[in-house]
């Protein structure tokens, strides 16, 4: 999310690419090892540099960030026990200084203090003057910044410094802070940095980074300033054992946390649930106390308040933290835009996990878990998100499946269990004994099918069954005719599943439009299966299918079943009708050109000849389905299926590896253009 951000906020915004290169250079000669007792040297050096050192210390039954003058101030041997609504300090068996989890304080207190003076206003007679406060922040050193916290600083950098107007007070405070980061070697049940992509390992933005072992610290530099300081420390090169122990401690934390909040498609899933009844239910429990927002390291809202002398001639204007939970936050002279608690909770949660992305290009959450532990009634955002906007259960398309026999030199074999004729020249093969990778494939993926002596064939998977898959193949030449003609019992070579799938996640909570022609229904059939499996997750589902003649339609008995099931609205059309056909005649767009449904919240999945998909895209756009919500699957010459042979290139894209499913927005100008 914010990986690659440099230590200085000005660099972050001006030359982030350069910063990454430099950071790599600084670590070339590391990592180093600093004996535990010599951490004091680091503190002393920072202080000698004219900096106040801020670090973790035990105060009032919690670990908070405050002034540190010696190692004795650090929370030696202290850990904590945390859960939703729970935080207790606990003694550890070791003497570690940084083996605790997030406390209530965050570094934002120093870069974005709860109160700062903005200006002093004076009224003398009829004249008014405003004198801005002098920005002169102290030189600080942050000792013990974790991965999620560095990510939070990176997020606030974008908020305060990334737009056309910057917050100069923030800029000055941020630039005056030296960052000593610490990789996490412990995690609380409230942690979910792994889901948000921010930890437990430091991913940039630091001057120095430490990993704590019993006997000391593995140290790396991340900036020139860090490198300079490192040169003044009594370090030696870390040995292989120390490097290994440090890496495995961090790795173990990542494994412990797992992925408690799957974020794929979360933005759309959440925004589709504005009207969920859950908002009112959460509001029944939520006290509107704003604790979550106060402990949050990224929340940035503030208000300006006035403190004036008794006669009102001189007043100090101050910026103070404010929160979207407070009753007055959205109030105007005529009323309150977010009067109900449910509205305020929804604002907070949808901002953190959806609209923040639209505004700043990242989630507004780093997964530190503070809001969970410090909520007095124990509301857990992870649980709320999972119940308001749950990810799809079946074949979640965010899971990357490792294909079987990825290399074109390898093939697994499968047995043809049955062959079903669909039309005069199209048949469906039911394959058994397929590699387990196929069973976890996603709708829209394809397989490379091979018979010795014939060229390999890229074929869309047209159904996933418990331990089998189906391939629907048209006899387009000698190889395809041969494969169709093999009959039950014969074996085939298979590689896959390959390529991207249909992003069904994007359609959760929305209407779905599926437009297809001819054999194009085959790659869409697993998508229709997945939708029918969880029908209540989607709005209206409409399938428009066109074929050359009635006899060229695939899966006719299934189409009848789907229609009868009443869960999908199906319209069929043919280019050429016979006497018996009483349905629509015309191209597929003809089926919805005169419809009156509103596509402004719909997601479309389209497959057919490219010229047909282009015409469809135009008709869909007229109905309000935008290009980023219209997905097509493309056909190109594929030999390897893994982006190495170069045949399927389309501009900057490899159709086999980057696709074959793309949104029209992704394709841009190359879609439908001749000769690309």
């Amino acid at each position: 999310m914010v990986s690659g951000l440099g230590a200085s906020p000005t660099q972050v915004l001006d030359a982030s690419a350069q910063v990454v290169d430099d950071a790599a250079a600084y670590t070339k000669s590391g990592p180093w090892f600093l004996l535990r007792a010599n951490l004091q040297v680091l503190i002393d050096e920072l202080r000698a540099d004219g900096r106040r050192v801020i670090g973790p210390t035990v105060e009032d039954g919690a670990i908070v960030y405050d002034d540190i003058t010696s190692m004795a101030d650090l929370p030696e041997g202290w850990g904590d026990v945390q859960e939703a609504g729970q935080y207790r300090l606990a003694r550890r068996r070791d003497r570690h200084l940084f083996s605790f989890n997030m406390g209530p304080a965050s570094w934002k207190r120093f870069t974005f203090p709860p109160v700062i003076p903005l200006s002093v206003g004076r009224r003398e007679g009829r004249e008014v003057t405003f004198e801005p406060a002098v920005i002169d922040p102290p030189r600080l050193a942050f000792l013990g910044v974790r991965g999620c916290e560095l990510a939070a600083l990176g997020i606030q950098d974008r908020v305060f410094l990334g737009g056309p107007f910057a917050d100069e007070d923030y800029r000055a405070r941020r630039a005056a802070a030296f960052v000593v980061a610490v990789n996490c070697t412990t995690a609380a049940p409230t942690c979910f940095c792994t889901s948000m992509g921010t930890g437990p390992e430091i991913r940039g933005g630091h001057d120095l980074v430490l990993t704590e072992l019993d006997e000391g610290f593995v140290v790396r530099a991340g900036s020139e300033a860090g490198s300079d300081l490192l040169a003044r420390l009594p370090v030696k090169a870390a040995d292989a054992g120390q490097i290994f122990r440090a890496a495995s401690a961090v790795g173990k934390v990542a494994a412990t946390i797992g992925d408690p909040l799957p974020t794929a498609g979360l933005h759309d899933r959440l925004l589709a649930q504005f009207d969920s009844p859950r908002w009112a239910e959460i509001a029944e429990r939520c006290l509107m106390c704003a604790n979550c927002s106060m402990v949050c390291p990224t929340c940035f809202c503030s208000s300006v308040t006035q403190r004036s002398d008794l006669d009102g001639h001189v007043s100090t204007s101050e910026r103070v933290w404010d929160f979207c939970f407070t009753a007055s936050f959205a109030r105007v002279a005529g009323g309150n835009f977010r009067n109900r608690p449910r509205d305020r909770y929804r604002q907070w949660l949808t901002h953190k996990f959806a609209t923040w992305i639209d505004q700043f290009g990242t989630f507004g959450c780093v997964g530190c878990g503070r809001c969970i532990a410090w909520c007095p009634v124990g509301i857990d955002v992870r649980q709320e998100l999972m119940s308001i906007a749950p990810p799809l259960e079946a074949r979640p398309d965010q899971v990357d499946v490792r294909p079987a026999a990825a290399s074109p030199a390898e093939y697994t074999t499968a047995r043809i269990d049955a062959v079903r004729a669909e039309t005069a020249d199209v048949s469906t093969l039911v394959l058994g004994g397929v590699d387990a990778a196929f069973v976890t494939g996603r709708p829209g993926q394809f397989a490379m099918v091979a018979l010795p002596a014939y060229p390999p064939l890229p074929i869309s998977i047209s159904r996933y069954r418990q331990d089998r898959i189906e391939l629907t193949i048209r006899a387009a030449g000698p190889a395809t005719a041969m494969v169709i003609g093999l009959g039950a019992g014969a074996e085939l070579g298979l590689r896959g599943p390959l390529g991207s799938g249909w992003p069904l996640e994007r359609a959760v909570g929305r209407d779905v439009v599926i437009v297809t022609g001819g054999i194009g229904l085959a790659p869409l059939r697993p998508l229709i299966d997945a939708i029918r499996d969880q029908r209540d997750r989607f709005g209206a589902v409409r399938l428009y299918y066109g074929a050359r003649t009635p006899a060229d339609m695939l899966y006719r008995s299934e189409l009848e079943r789907w229609t009868a099931g009443d869960d999908i609205e199906i319209a069929l059309t043919v280019d050429r009708a016979d006497e018996a056909w009483t349905g629509p005649v015309g191209v597929v767009t003809h089926l919805f050109d005169h419809a009156t449904w509103d596509g402004s919240r719909a997601v479309a999945f389209v497959c057919g000849p490219e010229r047909m998909m282009q015409a469809t895209a135009v008709s869909l756009e007229e109905r309000g389905v935008s290009r980023d919500r219209t997905f097509v699957t493309l056909e190109r010459h594929m030999e390897c299926g893994i982006g190495l042979c170069g045949h399927c290139q389309m501009g900057r894209l490899f159709v086999c590896k980057d696709g074959p499913v793309f949104s029209l927005a992704e394709l841009g100008e190359v879609f439908g253009r001749e000769g690309i």
Binding site: W581, H590, P609
Partner: protein, 171 residues
């Protein structure tokens, strides 16, 4: 013609019916109201010939429900359905376009309900009511243009499997 005018239909219902169609929704309330004054509801059973190719088109209609096939006679192949008209679309646009002769046979393949406007009356009204003409004609033209574009796509025969090049296909 086997058209059966429905018993006097409630005018408000006619305006609502116009508003629910693709053709009528974009016209605006004024035009919808003017058209309702001229409209009559027509119900026909399946198999009814609404227009004969080459014959004078008496009515412009909006199809409210059912399906209407546009057919042309091809010697030795009989009547071929070129296109079907779906609810919301127009039947008999030639009632507004000289020489007011139908360009194809027009047959109800399902029981159909239409809102019909007598071509002569409608033309006379549009000649004098320019505001109405300014909203009706673009929509009529759009309907005809869509039909033209759709016909071109059919002509492309995109799902045809005949080889398009002379290159040898190994697949």
């Amino acid at each position: 013609m086997m058209l059966e005018p429905a018993p006097h239909a409630d005018r408000t219902h006619v305006v609502e019916a116009i508003d629910r169609t693709w053709f009528g929704a974009a016209l605006g309330p004024e035009a919808q109201s003017r058209l309702a004054d001229l409209a009559r509801v027509v119900r026909v059973p399946a198999g009814t010939h609404l227009l004969r190719e080459g014959a004078t088109t008496e009515d412009l209609s909006i199809l409210l429900s059912g399906r209407v096939a546009l057919r042309m006679l091809v010697p030795e192949r009989g009547m071929v359905t070129i296109l079907t008209v779906e609810p919301g679309d127009l039947v008999g646009w030639s009632a507004l376009v000289p020489p007011h002769r139908a360009t194809s046979e027009c047959v109800a393949v399902e029981p159909a309900v239409l809102l019909a406007f007598r071509g002569e009356d409608l033309r006379a009204t549009l000649r004098t009511d320019h505001a109405l003409a300014a909203s009706v004609y673009p929509r009529v033209l759009q309907a005809v243009a869509r039909r033209l574009a759709a016909t071109r796509f059919q002509l492309l025969d995109l799902f045809s499997q005949e080889p398009r090049t002379s290159e040898v296909n190994p697949w």
